[in-house]
């Protein structure tokens, strides 16, 4: 059924249709509307047979999910930003045990400085946590990915994060085709774990493993997650058959045929990039887009195949590794290391800065003219004057103290305190 609906409400409806039996929730923006809506749905009986736990922290939320999943029920939570990092230890634990927990990450920047707006620093920081990471481009895809995520998680016994851009998607009202219960029930069988905490068949879960087998356990984790590269396209194909639309999969390509320049990106910014690419195509520029839907496991072979005919690739990503560079860029270079192409790293949209068509057009014009230095990390729309002033100050004597102090004063965002 098509509805004009807020992204968070749509996701909450999709999760409801998946019939989770335990939801553990802790509020953090911009994920809050999802768990608020789920609370309503449990209280009104729309989501029947579900225990909704109001826990004391995100660490508690993931921990409760771990306990519930090990006890054999379908389990869900949602978080963002600092909350995801506060869960970090439990994320590795959930994947290490192999618990098929599904979690929405409403992507938001990581502080300091504290910032509630969108970027991908949170889920990127957890890219090595052993969770599958799927990135939604639109609210429709966010809805569809949740339905697929439960099936994927339970098929492989691996936890899955569905990442959707905070505010940009979670708080946006747009048309979404919501599946009905019968469709979802037909697509997603009830959860039947191979083992669970059961007094009739007692098992020890979470035992200590020493040097004699730890590497083997980790190898098997990796092997299992890599099978998701086969599983995800199959689930997406099944989804297309059942629901009549394309959603999910590993990658999405846009006007890639004959493209000499390819923009690689994740999440909602893909739509804007596609608009810019359309206008450049109109101007005769051979340019296309490669959207990464599945970032973990990293579909290296598929990325390589998609970029096999490109001359230059620009990765536009909403996070970076401080002191190293692009994250998706690094993975892309690794996937294409035997190809004769240049991979450029561009950081954009940090802390909620809008990624506009105008800025992207300027960037991509520079890219197709080979005006970007491939040895450097680039930042879209960086206030160079502001940064330069601060760098100049530090040249005249460093002093220990908060990074942003001077810059915030320059911008007039600090209400009090004179600046010399």
């Amino acid at each position: 059924m098509r509805s004009q609906i807020e992204g968070s409400q749509a996701v909450a409806r999709a999760v409801t249709l998946c019939r989770p039996q335990v939801i553990a929730a802790y509020p953090i923006s911009p994920q809050t509307h999802i768990v608020e809506s789920l609370s309503d749905r449990v209280r009104t009986g729309e989501l029947a047979g579900c225990e909704y736990m109001l826990v004391e922290s995100e660490f508690g939320a993931m921990s409760a999910c771990i306990g519930a999943s090990a006890a054999g029920v379908r389990t869900y939570t949602a978080t963002s930003s600092q909350g995801l990092l506060f869960m970090a230890e439990a994320l590795f634990n959930a994947s290490g045990i192999g618990l098929p927990i599904v979690m929405t990450v409403a992507n938001r920047a990581i502080g300091a400085p504290i910032n509630i707006w969108n970027d991908h620093s949170d889920s990127m920081a957890m890219r090595d946590s052993g969770w599958i990471q799927l990135f939604a481009e639109s609210n429709q895809e966010a809805v569809d990915l949740h339905v697929q995520a439960f099936r994927l998680a339970e098929s492989l016994s691996v936890p899955v994060m569905v990442c959707m851009d905070g505010f940009i998607l979670t708080h946006a009202f747009e048309e979404v085709d919501l599946p009905d219960q019968a469709q979802v029930d037909a697509f997603l069988a009830p959860f039947v774990p191979q083992q669970q905490l059961d007094p009739d068949e007692p098992v020890t879960i979470g035992a200590m493993v020493g040097p004699e087998a730890f590497a083997e356990v980790k190898y098997l984790m990796h092997a299992k997650q890599m099978t998701a590269l086969d599983e995800i396209p199959e689930i997406a194909a099944d989804f297309r058959r059942a629901f009549g639309r394309d959603s999910g999969g590993l990658l999405k390509t846009y006007r890639l045929d004959d493209a000499e320049t390819v923009v690689v990106a994740l999440g909602s910014v893909l739509g804007t990039i596609e608009d810019v690419v359309d206008s450049m195509r109109d101007a005769g520029v051979p340019i296309g887009v490669l959207g990464i839907t599945c970032f973990r496991p990293w579909p290296a072979a598929e990325v390589r195949a998609a970029l096999a005919h490109a001359r230059r690739v620009v990765v536009v990503e909403k996070a970076f590794a401080v002191g190293a560079g692009g994250i998706v860029g690094q993975n892309t270079r690794d996937a294409t290391r035997d190809l004769p192409l240049v991979v450029l790293d561009v950081v954009a949209g940090l802390g909620g800065r809008p990624v506009t068509r105008a800025s992207l057009r300027g960037l991509l014009d520079d890219v197709v003219e080979d005006r970007l230095d491939p040895t450097r990390l680039h930042f879209l729309d960086l206030d160079l004057a502001l940064v330069e002033r601060e760098l100049e100050r530090s040249r005249h004597g460093r002093r220990p103290g908060p990074h942003a102090e001077h810059m915030l004063r320059d911008l007039g965002t600090v209400a009090s305190g004179a600046f010399d």
Binding site: A24, G49, A71, A90
Partner: protein
């Protein structure tokens, strides 16, 4: 009070002599049908109080629930010595996740059982004092506040023994640990404000809170049974001497637990809905020195440079417990 303290004892101890009791009055541990939830072959140290405590508690809980029990374990000695790959000493469904999340994991298990219509299966969470009073404290308080249907058991050996005997929030004043050595002007752990999780648990007004020691098996088993008769959040704090961490003889585990209670160092009581309902009175009071002397962690108080001033401060704390909980034998007050 449903529980009648049985005042039989063997010569030289206050241990209740099982053999003198009618079979139905004997402890769960004395019964042939005990579940051996934590079975033999594990790798605990000789004389480990926590191993005893865990077996006593879980066997009693298994009996109280007719074997319908799930255990959740925080990281610590108990988890390490019981599950070295590929072995397990657990004969009940058992889950270990992390150090600081035991109560939240246990709450999740309870929620899942309720969602599955299996709330006949009960949940016990267990951790050492580090996992309970320090790193797992937020999760524990949350579990209490929500009144989740979990019995959480703290096996308190007063320090981080698994990592090599460091100070925890439950380490008593003056005790030597690897991070509070007997050096400097204030040897051993500082005299802080203390952190009584049983009292904090009571402040949450949860249905049932109790303390116990491994020295009084009847009392401990009674409290587990009592705890399992309630629904909602329950807390049991069990005093478990650690021969390794306390530098005490392995044979002295039970004796030290008894002396902790008989000196007033460790008050043994029960509380329901925030009110103390029963205390285990001291049978024959001993000075704290009797409890401190056998432990190497207090050796600096009695050596070539004795510190009677510090012993007096510890005595004052015990006296405060005695007065606060009314621990003296009846007629002595």
């Amino acid at each position: 009070m449903a529980f009648q303290e049985i005042k039989l004892y063997q010569t030289g101890t206050f241990v209740v002599g099982n053999r003198l009791l009618d079979p139905e009055q004997r402890t769960v541990q004395a019964r042939t049908g005990r579940s051996n939830s934590l079975t033999s072959g594990h790798r605990a140290c000789q004389g480990c109080g926590e191993a005893l405590g865990a077996r006593y508690v879980l066997d009693a809980a298994m009996r109280a629930t007719d074997g319908k029990l799930v255990a959740v374990n925080s990281t610590g000695c108990l988890e390490v010595f019981s599950t070295p790959y590929p072995e397990s000493s657990w004969q009940l469904p058992w889950l270990h996740s992390l150090f600081g999340n035991g109560p939240a994991v246990a709450s999740g298990v309870a929620a899942a059982l309720r969602a599955s219509g299996r709330d006949d299966i009960r949940v016990v969470g267990q951790a050492g004092d580090g996992g309970t009073v320090d790193i797992g404290f937020g999760a524990l308080s949350g579990m209490f506040e929500r009144n989740d249907d979990v019995l959480f058991v703290c096996y308190d050996n007063e320090g981080y023994m698994n990592t090599g005997v460091q100070r925890s929030g439950a380490t008593p004043p003056a005790a030597v640990t690897a991070t509070t050595k007997a050096v400097g002007p204030e040897p051993g752990n500082v005299f802080g404000q203390g952190k009584s999780v049983p009292l904090i648990a009571m402040a949450h007004e949860i249905p049932y809170v109790a303390t116990a020691t491994v020295a009084d098996l009847h009392d401990l088993e009674h409290k587990v049974e009592r705890a399992m008769s309630f629904r909602g959040a329950r807390y049991l704090h069990v005093f478990v001497p650690c021969p390794l961490g306390w530098r005490a003889a392995s044979a002295d585990t039970i004796r030290l637990a008894r002396l902790a209670k008989e000196s007033g160092v460790f008050p043994v009581f029960e509380a329901e809905a925030g009110e103390v309902t029963a205390v285990s009175r001291i049978r024959r009071q001993v000075p704290v020195e009797d409890y401190l002397r056998p432990q190497g962690r207090y050796a600096h108080l009695f050596g070539d440079h004795p510190r009677p001033d510090i012993v007096a401060r510890i005595q004052a704390r015990a006296d405060r417990n005695i007065a606060r909980f009314g621990l003296l034998p009846e007629g002595d007050e």
